[in-house]
Amino acid sequence: MPVLVFTESANGTFKKSNFEAVSYGARIATQLNTEAYVIDFENLSDDVLKSLGDYGATKVYRVANEALKNFDAGLFAKVLNDVAKKLNAATVIFSFNYSGKAIAPVLAAKMNAGYVAGAIDIPVMEGRTMKIRKNVFSGKAIALYAIHSENKIIALTSNTVAPEKTENKCSVENLEITITATDSKVKVKEVVKASGKITLSDADIVVSAGRGLKGPENWGMVEEMANILGAATACSRPVADIHWRPHEEHVGQTGLTVRPNLYIALGISGAIQHLAGVNGSKVIVVINKDPEAPFFKAADYGIVGDVFEVVPKLNEAFKKFKAGA
């Protein structure tokens, strides 16, 4: 009973979160004495698909049906359920991202599977029970889950389990799945992507700013820092609420959860609801003029100072570092 890993590239290229999911699936497969197969719905070349073998997949199945160009979580789950039956698979791995969050719960219902959404470590098997940790209470705690059912689905939180390279023994095969017109219920009419910008949920570095910036006209220096560092920009909730910044940038308990390697907070107080969305970051830098700002308690590095003085100087220092590096 192979372990299946669902992958979705970013415009034809696989990225770190895909390697993480494949490597994770391969390590679970080893524990279960079986192999990890990738299921990919895009029409990608053999070479691109085969590259997933570097992370332990022994087979990649290409399910390239015209109908799958239209993202419909229900349709994708139906096809994955058919694939799982065909390959006699009981375990399916997703990345805990926009697509995974949409497809995995539908598939769980169709497969009668126990589902852990947002796992943060490699599962441990105890008989047929699988034990896995995941973040709960918006990052304020961790829970140890047990999946008791025969079929199991896990969506892996990005940047939590490092991918491991192995010798590539991977082959690529096509898999035909019958899709009828009534299988698809949701039709995509238009896709809008902000071009050139780094996606916040995938970013390694995030530069975030709060009400301390005083007004939307002052975001130039925030964007400049993001440009120098190759970072995405984010903001606190009130900043999005008063429309200084687009709401896609709002991070925190009621916004996006991010777990970058580096989170730089400029003029953000560090309210508990804000921290909930960012405290999974590896390193946190806080710049705030109030030495009592609660964010300093959650930070690794800090500067007590006025953002309007510190940030321009820091941008110069980052620029110098990048030029020398």
Partner: protein, 246 residues
Amino acid sequence: MKFLVCISKAPDTTTKIAFTDNNTKFNNDKVVFIVNPYDEWYALVRALELKEKLGGTVTVINVGAADTDAIIRKALAIGADDAVRIDAEPVDAMFVAKQIAEYVKENAYDIVLCGKETIDYNGSEVGGMIAGLLDWGFVSLASSLELNGNTATLNREIAGGHETVEVTIPFVLSAAKGMAEARIPNMRGIMAARTKPVAVVAPSASENYTSILSYELPNDKTGVKLVSADNVSELVALLHNEAKII
């Protein structure tokens, strides 16, 4: 149009999280519970707006014991017409989804709305599971919903942007920020909520697929290293040499 809005009970966002019974149970002593913000602010309010515009009814449904009454009354005070409580402890997302799907099979609804996730277990699960169980269309992380006859147009968040999708009723959605603005209940709403009907329904049989064995708190940060505002290049050096992230 008949709207069914799934509401969950969640600890207030300022709650200090702690556990009891050897870290196997959430300590709800002195915890204030609220309607899960995504359910209340976005799913419920958008359903009410569309009902006000197009006619129909808005029912809220909760799977929970009698102690969820307060949050059900809050949803009624904001404007829901009536409520259903499936009388059972919600053991996991699949259990909740099965209870709601069973109820929907017996009672005709056009659109089932959930919040995009609960702020306690953060799974983003129940909506998709209901759709899977009913074999209805599912739109996740929807940031807008418009109706034109039986056809709905929604925006949904995707990596690096958003997309517009179309689906015909019946379907399930999970609501994200942007769908509506939170409403504060007024005195009249609060008074009216007292007499609105709440049907208490016995749960249907369901097995448990997952359980939580124990909880732990994340490691605290060891303490912040402060750098002088006059010496910002030291921060750059620390990020490079010590943290090794730039």
